[in-house]
């Protein structure tokens, strides 16, 4: 917008009368605009995290106030070097968490990609919006409500066993049998989070240039060849982000597991987050709980570092 000749710029009301606060607020705009949010992070995020780091080096059982004493690295040592069968040891929950994460992310990726390709031809019609509304329903529902729905489906007298019986198969107590509980949790999460993969890949597919496909078509490439040589390479950045996103978020899953199996039967579905909850709020071991919470943070940081690197490259070097 060009200034009209002869129009004197109006002095903003905030600058009148030498209100120095307004002047500082204006000159230091980014600082002032960021200050409240950053202050909140420092007070309510950095401080508690620092506090829990300190506590992680202490023995502290909440039920016996006299137990507070310096422990050095003993909490961490207990987590990492206790016998794997011990409740304290991190290895069984870690193994469960990895199983859960790898299984859910793999299934969600394959299924989500398949659905994205299936509905792809709807992109240019208003049909996609309509179909998409149904597919994204699970993303909007609370974990608790999802656990409730699936609790009814997995129940011994629930809908899944009804279908099994119709197919001539015996009923199972899906959530109560060690051999099926983990699979039931994985499939519940697949229902919830496949739509996320679908959405991300659909957005990626819509951004692909059409002319490449036309050229490939003219050159006699089969749809399968187009898919492997055009779609997959061009979609790789979106795929990487989608996968990392799901890995980090499925790794920390708590609510559905807690509400469906509470880590059982035995310890067969006890993920790290459930284990942490039990150390902290069932055994009231604040020292050990804090140490475990930092072990989880470090694992997440390692995964997030990969993610942030990829994003940084795409944002600033792409």
């Amino acid at each position: 917008v060009r200034q009209k000749a002869g129009v004197v710029p109006t002095i903003p009301p905030t600058l009148r009368g030498g209100a120095w606060i307004s002047r500082v607020a204006d000159r230091q705009f980014p600082t002032v605009a960021l200050a409240p949010a950053m202050l909140l992070f420092i007070l309510l995020l950095c401080y508690p995290l620092g506090y829990s780091l300190v506590v992680s080096f202490y023995h502290w059982r909440l039920t016996s106030p006299g137990s507070f004493r310096f422990a050095g690295l003993e909490n961490y040592a207990a987590l990492l070097t206790s016998a794997p069968s011990s409740v304290v040891s991190v290895w069984i929950p870690l193994e469960n968490t990895l199983t859960y994460t790898v299984a859910t992310v793999t299934l969600e990726f394959v299924l989500g990609f398949a659905v994205a390709l299936l509905l792809q031809r709807q992109t240019s019609r208003s049909g996609l919006g309509f179909l998409r509304t149904f597919v994204i329903v699970p993303l909007m529902i609370s974990d608790v409500v999802i656990a409730l729905m699936w609790r009814m489906l997995w129940d011994t007298y629930g809908f899944i066993n009804y279908v099994m019986n119709v197919l001539g198969q015996p009923s199972h107590a899906w959530l109560a049998e060690p051999s099926t509980a983990m699979a039931a949790l994985v499939l519940t999460d697949v229902w919830q989070n496949t739509p996320f993969v679908f959405l991300m890949l659909t957005a990626g597919l819509q951004a692909l240039p059409t002319d490449l496909y036309e050229v490939a078509n003219i050159d006699g490439a089969s749809p399968a060849q187009s898919f492997w040589h055009i779609t997959v390479p061009l979609l790789t950045p979106v795929i990487v982000i989608t996968l990392l996103f799901r890995v980090i978020f499925n790794f920390r899953d708590f609510t559905k597991i807690y509400a469906l199996t509470a880590g059982g039967p035995g310890r067969s579905t006890e993920l790290l987050s459930v284990n942490l909850y039990q150390e902290m709020f069932r055994n009231f071991d604040a020292g050990l709980g804090s140490a475990l919470s930092w072990v989880i943070v470090v694992m997440t940081v390692l995964m997030a570092a990969v993610f942030v690197r990829v994003l940084w490259r795409q944002t600033f070097e792409g």
Binding site: A33, L44, L45, L49, S52, V55, Q120, V144, G158, W191
Partner: protein, 297 residues
Amino acid sequence: MPIRTTVGRVSWKRSGTEAFYWILVVAVIVYFTFPAFWMLLMSFKTRLAATAFPPVWIFHPTVLHYQGIFSTSTNPTEIGEPSLGTMLPYLINSVIIAVCTTVLTLALGTPAAYAFSGFRFRGDRLLAFAVLGIRFLPPISYVVPVYLLAANIGLLDTRLIVILVYTVINLPFIIWMLIGFFKDLPGEIREAARIDGCSEWSAFLRVLMPLVAPGLAATAIFAFMLAWNDFMIAFILTENHARTMPVALTRYISAEAGTYWGDLSAGGVVTMLPMLLFVLLAQRSLVRGLVLGAVKG
């Protein structure tokens, strides 16, 4: 016009299996909607119908469970079936907490996102990515020290602590989503406002905020949703006074679930209803927000 790729189209047309294609599409839709539909049916079933095996499809519907949830009476026997009693206080808590979180998050997040999107200053990228990093912090690791500190100062089981924790956890996502919406606006708008004599603040509040309003609305829905849907934080930080709907629902989910399936389902329907309305009303901007929030943060 949206760009259309032809990978899927060619192969389906060539194989000439139009019917098969539509069967697959219907199967996908049934798969993603059936559990919600089943819970909706359950919420209208009497206890007898809810526990019938094989499950019944046709039954005499009852609204007793909804009446029970919203009744002001706390006496379960008045309802005529085993009942969890009223859930009204928890629903009110959920509404208050989600609304306050939304307002607070946007009030803090909008200026921050604007500063990140339109200004260069020392360490701007580093700070923006530090904020992004917070997003990946596992909430359970964060809520452990918050529990210890809040217990010290008597803030456990208050709405305030839940609102503050939700704000901290949601803020990174909200800031990055808003950065995306601000970056969609041409940079010249701010310059023009400045040349016309606006201060930075009035350029931001009077010129840019109204332009980014649709994005703000979508972001507000997300902020609300994250607070409304959460279980874990409210579960750990509240006891009874500040208990929210999701926490109230899980109390009976395992041991005595069969007895209360009608009530639990009705509660589940009430909890997911606002979210489903959002999907129907703002499907396009929600999808954009989800993708934006993931791709850019």
